[in-house]
């Protein structure tokens, strides 16, 4: 359902937001698993997370994060 608010714009319900792509789902699961992996610092996982949210990954950027 959509509701018209007093400013004339529509309020979008969660169910009407665009579903994730298959790649986004795969990254979500990957990052969740990595957060539970003690070999990975949370900071590194968060950096990877911010990269994958923006665009396709660039291997060199990921290498730099993993080198830290």
């Amino acid at each position: 359902m959509l509701f018209l608010n007093i400013m004339g714009g529509y309020i979008i319900e969660e169910s009407l937001k665009v579903p994730k792509t298959v790649l986004e789902d795969v990254w979500d699961e990957t990052l969740t698993r990595l957060k539970e992996n003690h070999d990975f610092k949370l900071e590194a996982v968060e950096k990877i997370e911010s990269i994958v949210k923006e665009s396709m990954i660039i291997p060199e950027e990921i290498i730099d994060i993993l080198k830290d």
Binding site: L2, Y10, V18, T21, V26, R33, L34, N37, I62, I63
Partner: protein, 815 residues
């Protein structure tokens, strides 16, 4: 989202086109090159701001602003606008995009946020299936089918990401291997300096403690460069120009021992054996091939993607299958392996010799520099440099190198003229530096080791760090692959049942028990299908191209339905029908009409039969079908709007344009009754040209109708179904009346009738003709679902006459 109206202005091959689907299925029929795909491009552009066909591989020089507008117009004159219906909003909304500002969707600000998810989903392209994708899927061989399925399902970005993460892992592995090699080099230097063969912490500590003891230091229990001089002091005043002649003598002695005849003979033997092996292999191309294969196979095994994919060409393999395959290949090459391993061992021996000389030379050069023997230092540096070049040749793939003959190697490792230079350095050192005390030598030993140990410790840290990075790269890659398999398998599981259901529906006659397996495996998809309950194989193993075609369509439809649910109801099928035969196309129509309620199909095709079937099977209403023809650069396609025939004829009558109404009635009737004859399998006199007169078609259709109605009555009688018999009699009475009227009126649509003769007719004269044909059409069509009646044949005899919804269902089988 459903499409209500679409207007295209000066875009690609179209000058000006307005269509009016009103949220219903829509068909554009026309020959190749008539501009059908330009309409699909326009929809694509409207929703995404780009034209998919103009992006990607092979489209480098194609620019949206340059090649998007009609060739005679500029981007500012080129725009697409539409009226669409969005879920959750009652009022339709208008959206527009121009080629001048392709990134900006022009719409009311209040709906901008609402349409955002629709546009985002559209950018994934999952609502469009093109002929090219189906073609690639059907023609793919077993090694690329997995990738083509991913392309068909528009999930190639997952595979691209996996491949990039594999690159991350392998790069980090190379970095680790390089740091490990540096660690080995510095370890060799330490070994040479303290006179041991293998790096051993205990022996190094013994060496340190024996020197510390001389300096009254406590023994160390831990090997650390920071602790090496802890608690001890230098025993003489340090001088910048002082050389420890004792240590220099030790270095020269070590070099001399390398230069000994025994060692020279040993090095010569190693080098000759290495060369002989190389010569043996080089002289026989089969051995060269075997070695090259072995090296590549070993490398492949080392770099093997744990998920099974080939690291060289990314071809997906079953998990562990490539590993086994490579291991088997290596076993087959066992003779070559013996030679190769021997060569590696001999080469390592030579590398060790070079590293030993290098380590000693470094120390001697330092001494020469301290006492200011620049000329000697430079000569030694040239030697050192040559050794480094030789080392790189040995570590590379090109040994023996013409630059390094047997004699040259001997000279390089034990040069003839260097004793003079070395003696000169030593004698100058003796002159310039006092003879060191035992304590001074101990201190200098520790100083030299301290420096090496610092480098060693740094290398250990680097190596450990790079190993951790490599392992993290491996974990990241493996985790991604596991997640990918888990997510894709869930998705495949969800769509598999729907895929099987749709495919069975298409092939009810021959594959009612069809089943399939879709599993994410390696870099691709393991897609196998059942073949008549006999075996399970990849789709291209036993199924015909037509069957594979319909599999591709069903797979796509099942996935598109799952991924666009609730946002884009519009599914675009751009000329996708190819090798599917006519009966199965009918089933595809049935599928689109009955299995995708609430979806709007936008279909283009160059295939007339398919276009007709879409209409007769009720997928497309006649007013939602247009025909493109006679495309020209200046004007684009000619558009024949094949709307509701009765509406357009009424319009003509209202204008008293009888000739036009008669022509439309004749043409529409020809079209309609060719479909009726096809549906009823009616006998029509064969025409080689494929052109049939209305008289031939009407005769065939009416005679078949009467014949099947007679059979239906007889069958109802035999079953004692009097209610059905009464119903059929009423149908018969009505049809008899229509056929009688038709015989009286059909002259009016005779093509031989001269144009001038219409001058005497009025609308009132022609109206009964139209009424008769309208009733005639209704006889062959279900009043409920609008589809044509068709003959159901199962076995030698027809079984029934039915419409798609079952409202008309005449049993033809007697008791």
């Amino acid at each position: 989202m459903k499409l209500l109206e679409l207007e295209i202005l000066n875009f690609r091959g179209i000058r000006n086109l307005t269509i009016d689907p009103q949220g219903k299925n829509f068909l554009i029929y026309g020959p190749n090159g008539s501009g059908k795909s330009a309409v699909v491009d326009a929809l694509d552009f409207l929703l995404t701001g780009q034209i998919s066909r103009m992006t990607g591989k092979g489209t480098k020089d194609i620019k949206l602003k340059e090649h998007g507008p009609h060739i005679d117009y500029s981007p500012k004159d080129s725009c697409i606008s539409a009226k669409v219906q969005i879920h959750g909003i009652e009022e339709p909304i208008r959206i527009k995009r121009t080629l001048e500002s392709p990134k900006k969707l022009i719409c009311d600000d209040s709906i901008r946020e609402i349409i955002k998810p629709v546009l985002e989903l559209a950018s994934r392209g999952q609502h469009v299936l093109t002929r090219r994708e189906i073609l690639n899927y059907v023609t793919a061989d077993s090694s690329t089918r997995g990738k083509q399925i991913q392309t068909l399902l528009k999930i190639t970005d997952v595979e691209i990401t996996r491949s990039k993460l594999l690159k991350v892992k392998n790069t980090l592995k190379s970095i680790y291997e390089s740091t490990n090699s540096s660690l080995n080099t510095i370890s060799t230097s330490i070994n040479v300096n303290i006179g041991i063969n293998n790096f051993n912490e205990e022996k190094i500590l013994d060496f340190i403690n024996s020197n510390r003891r001389i300096l009254d230091g406590n023994p160390l229990k831990e090997l650390s460069s920071d602790l090496l001089k802890e608690g001890i002091e230098p025993r003489s005043i340090s001088s910048e120009n002082r050389v420890n002649t004792q240590l220099l003598k030790n270095d020269l002695d070590k070099l001399q021992s390398i230069n000994s005849e025994d060692n020279k003979a040993n090095i010569r033997e190693i080098d000759l054996e290495l060369r002989e092996l190389n010569a043996k292999i080089s002289s026989d191309h089969r051995l060269v091939d075997a070695h090259e294969h072995l090296k590549l196979t070993r490398l492949g095994l080392n770099l093997l993607d744990p998920d099974g994919g080939c690291p060289l060409c990314d071809t997906p393999w079953k998990t562990d299958e490539l590993h086994e395959h490579l291991k088997n290949k290596i076993e087959l090459l066992s003779d070559a392996a013996k030679d190769l391993d021997k060569m590696i061992s001999l080469s390592d021996d030579l590398i060790l010799e070079v590293n030993n000389v290098t380590a000693i030379l470094n120390e001697i050069i330092k001494s020469a520099d301290i006492i200011g023997l620049n000329e000697e230092s430079e000569v030694l540096k040239v030697w050192l440099n040559n050794l480094k070049i030789f080392l790189s040749v040995l570590e590379g793939e090109n040994y023996p190198d013409p630059k390094f003959s047997v004699h040259m190697v001997e000279v390089l490792l034990s040069p003839l003229n260097y004793p003079y230079i070395l003696n000169n350095i030593y004698s100058n050192a003796i002159e310039s530096s006092p003879e060191p005390s035992k304590e001074q030598t101990a201190w200098d030993n520790l100083t030299r080791l301290e420096e090496n140990l610092k480098t060693y410790e740094m290398s250990v840290k680097e190596c450990s760090k790079s190993f951790k990075s490599y392992k993290k790269g491996e974990i990241l890659y493996n985790t991604f692959v596991e997640s990918k398999n888990s997510i894709l398998n869930n998705l495949y599981l969800e769509i598999k049942d729907r895929f099987v259901e749709l495919y069975r529906q298409l092939h009810l006659d021959d594959e009612m028990n069809f089943d399939a397996e879709i599993v994410s495996e390696g870099a691709g998809v393991n897609f196998k299908v059942d073949f008549h309950g006999r075996c399970v194989n990849p789709p291209n193993a036993l199924h015909s191209e037509g069957h594979q075609d319909s599999m591709g369509i069903c797979l796509y439809l099942a996935l598109a339905e799952r991924l666009t649910q609730g946002f884009i109801d519009l599914i675009i099928l751009d000329d996708v029908m190819m090798s599917v035969d006519a009966p199965h196309r009918r089933e595809i129509c049935n599928l689109l009409a009955n299995f995708f309620k609430g979806r709007q199909f936008f279909i283009t095709t160059h295939d007339q039969t398919w276009a007709r079937q879409l209409q007769t099977e009720g997928v497309i209403q006649s007013k939602n079908r247009i025909e493109f023809s006679n495309w020209t650069i200046e004007n684009g396609p000619s558009v024949n709007i094949l709307g509701d025939i009765w509406e357009v004829i009424e319009d003509d009558l209202a204008r008293n344009d009888i000739p036009s109404a008669a022509a439309k009635l004749r043409r529409g009737s020809e079209e309609y009754f060719s479909q009726v004859c096809s549906s009823l399998h009616a006998p029509v006199r064969f025409s080689f040209s494929g052109q049939y007169e209305l008289g031939d078609l009407l005769g065939g259709a009416m005679s078949e109708y009467k014949s099947q109605l007679k059979h239906a009555k007889a069958a109802a009688q035999s079953w004692g179904n009097y209610e059905e018999l009464e119903k059929l009699k009423k149908i018969e009475d009505f049809s008899k009346d229509v056929f009688t009227r038709l015989n009286m009126e059909r002259w009016a649509v005779n093509p031989a009738l001269h144009y001038n003769q219409w001058a005497d007719f009025t609308s009132q004269d022609f109206k009964p003709v139209v009424e008769t044909f309208r009733d005639l059409f209704s006889i062959f069509q279900c009043s409920k679902c609008g589809t044509l009646i068709h003959l159901v044949i199962n076995g030698p005899q027809p079984e029934a006459v039915k419409c798609n919804c079952g409202n008309i269902n005449w049993n033809l089988k007697d008791k």
